[in-house]
Symmetry: C2
Subunit: 353 residues, 2 copies
């Protein structure tokens, strides 16, 4: 059995009986019932995921997968393709947005070359996780992004990372870097949902009207040329996806199989999580949506999975920046659950009702 | 001149020229332009507030003002009045929601008795800031909550605290505890805005339908009996407000006068900030709205001030819990601004455009 099939088979529903026990604890803490809203939901969810009635978060790891995209040659991005590799070096050097926000959240950042069209070696590449499967995808306007086997290899790279870092108290975040990667993400949600391309396509790093029209046309062409089968998630992923998106799908599957919670970043990361969900819908109970991206297709993906984001900061950077912020909020929820006094301990009168 | 008048006179507009300089710095950081959304807005705002092109946050202080409300005797809350004093002891003991979330944000919590109907002394009251102005307000259904002078004394208590804790690198958060205090908050926004009472009244700590109807009637009666003048913020505050709300108004005024940013918690805190705003609209440029409370009147207040919240967690606990979460996000924004690499430093190619 393949590593992918093995991980998918290992995914189990969360422990529903423990959810009630978690709620019972939340209800004796010194606050009006349900008054901490989604923080209470997150605490319950953590209990269900870990199967531990008193879960702790002791290690926060954000995985930022980097890969190139052949479709960049169509002029769908505001930035040139070499920015992917340049930003990888910036990540390793600690100067990017994700580095700052991860430091603020007390999280580690692991940078993975899963598909960059560049050979990293020597100076400044210490710390890079070298797991290259392909040197960039092929141009989806002209044919499939990758073979089905390449897509599976990328997913299994993500699964292997999840297995390597899974431990009690761990929480993962997802992130990515790949110039042009909102284009495959929009193509994927259009393929899965059947939605009109323009309704799920945004301006990525900030393209103008002409480039936006071109981007919509490129995605429409990619769908016409490749005819991805929405009932076959690996077909969609390999034909119009990307290596980093596949790596994220694998990370989500691997984490879920090991009962490690995963906080998913924005639009592109959610495309990865969506592939995992289409392969096994149980993953949604292990996943936290983080922020509400300004990319239009993001909402369609989240609605499809029944996930509701909770950070509303108009972010559209990617890298894992939204996940870094959200991980700290999930941690806050667990601390509320573990550290607040009960009515009895604090000598506080309960609800009149 | 009174301390209040002096502080109001000291409020100056933020430094608009510095905002452009801050934007220029944000635009050379290694990210697509504007891609960190509201985090960039917060960084600019901090620069304008402090007048420092490289502001830092070195001290985070949340002020939780506690007071009782005569209107509690009308049965408008799900909790008995003694919970106010019990929760003050819980705050001092570190077991409440605000304590946990402030620890998570690295913030101090200062608990102020500004109007609790109880004499705190002896065991367990170390650390309490004893600034009692009144032993609870009077029942607003029957007459004014307090005299105009009592309201001014409460405001000046808040101003004095702001002056005491103002220092370079400081950021303040507001919070409160006072059983029944959503009732005066709804009364205040109804008075200022002229809105229908039911449209700005919520369920507070979680009352049932019958209690909700009673609460609306109590507020309508309070407005009829007191006839607060919406053009006179001190009239509204003293007739249908509360001591902790007045303290928060003072904290906001005092902070603004000293160019210290203030992160405002939910519904009740925003009622305090609103009084400050009605006295001098410039305060809005020094204030960060934190979360979007489930209390209906909150949105009306924020729209009146032109503030947009950024944490969407369905919170309705108060105490400063939303401010604690939001302070950490404002700090994240400042770190982004100070710590990210520039395109030139990181050797990353810029936007094609």
């Amino acid at each position: 059995m393949s590593r992918l099939q093995e991980a998918l088979n290992a995914i189990a529903p969360v422990d529903a009986a423990l959810l009630d026990k978690a709620q019972a604890r939340l209800d004796i803490l010194t606050k009006p019932k349900d008054s901490l809203g989604r923080l209470e939901e997150f605490a319950r969810k953590l209990v269900g995921i870990t199967g531990d009635i008193r879960p702790r978060i002791t290690r926060k790891v954000i995985f930022t997968f980097a890969a190139d995209h052949g479709v960049a040659e169509e002029g769908v991005s505001a930035f040139p393709k070499e920015v992917t590799r340049q930003m990888v070096l910036n990540f390793l050097n600690g100067g990017a947005g994700i580095n700052v926000l991860a430091r603020h959240a007390g999280a580690e950042v692991k940078v993975i070359d899963i598909g960059v069209d560049y050979e990293f070696d020597g100076k400044g590449t210490d710390g890079l996780l070298k797991r290259k499967v392909i040197r960039g995808t092929r141009n989806i306007r002209k044919g499939p992004a990758m073979t089905r086997q390449e897509a599976i290899d990328c997913i299994e790279t993500g699964i292997a990372l999840a297995q390597e870092y899974a431990e009690e108290g761990a929480i993962f975040g997802t992130g990515e870097m790949g110039i042009a990667n909102t284009t495959p993400s929009s193509a994927m949600i259009a393929a899965f949902s059947g939605a009109d391309v323009e309704s799920v396509t945004g301006r990525g790093t900030g393209i103008d009207d002409a480039a936006f029209k071109r981007k919509v046309k490129v995605i429409e062409d990619a769908l016409t040329v490749n005819r991805p089968d929405p009932a076959d998630p690996l077909d969609v992923l390999s034909k119009v996806g990307g290596a980093e998106i596949a790596g994220i799908a694998g990370l989500v599957i691997g984490a879920t199989a090991r009962r490690v919670p995963v906080v998913v970043d924005g639009f592109i990361s959610t495309a990865g999580a969506l592939v995992a969900y289409e392969l096994n819908p149980l993953v949604r109970d292990y996943v936290f949506a983080s922020h509400n991206s300004v990319e239009k297709g993001h909402r369609v993906m989240l609605e499809r999975m029944g996930l509701r984001p909770f950070v509303d900061l108009d972010l559209r950077l990617g890298e894992g920046t939204g996940a870094a912020i959200a991980i700290s909020l999930v941690e806050a929820a667990v601390r509320i659950y573990n550290e607040m006094a009960t009515f009895a301990d604090a000598g506080v009168s309960g609800n009149n009702a």
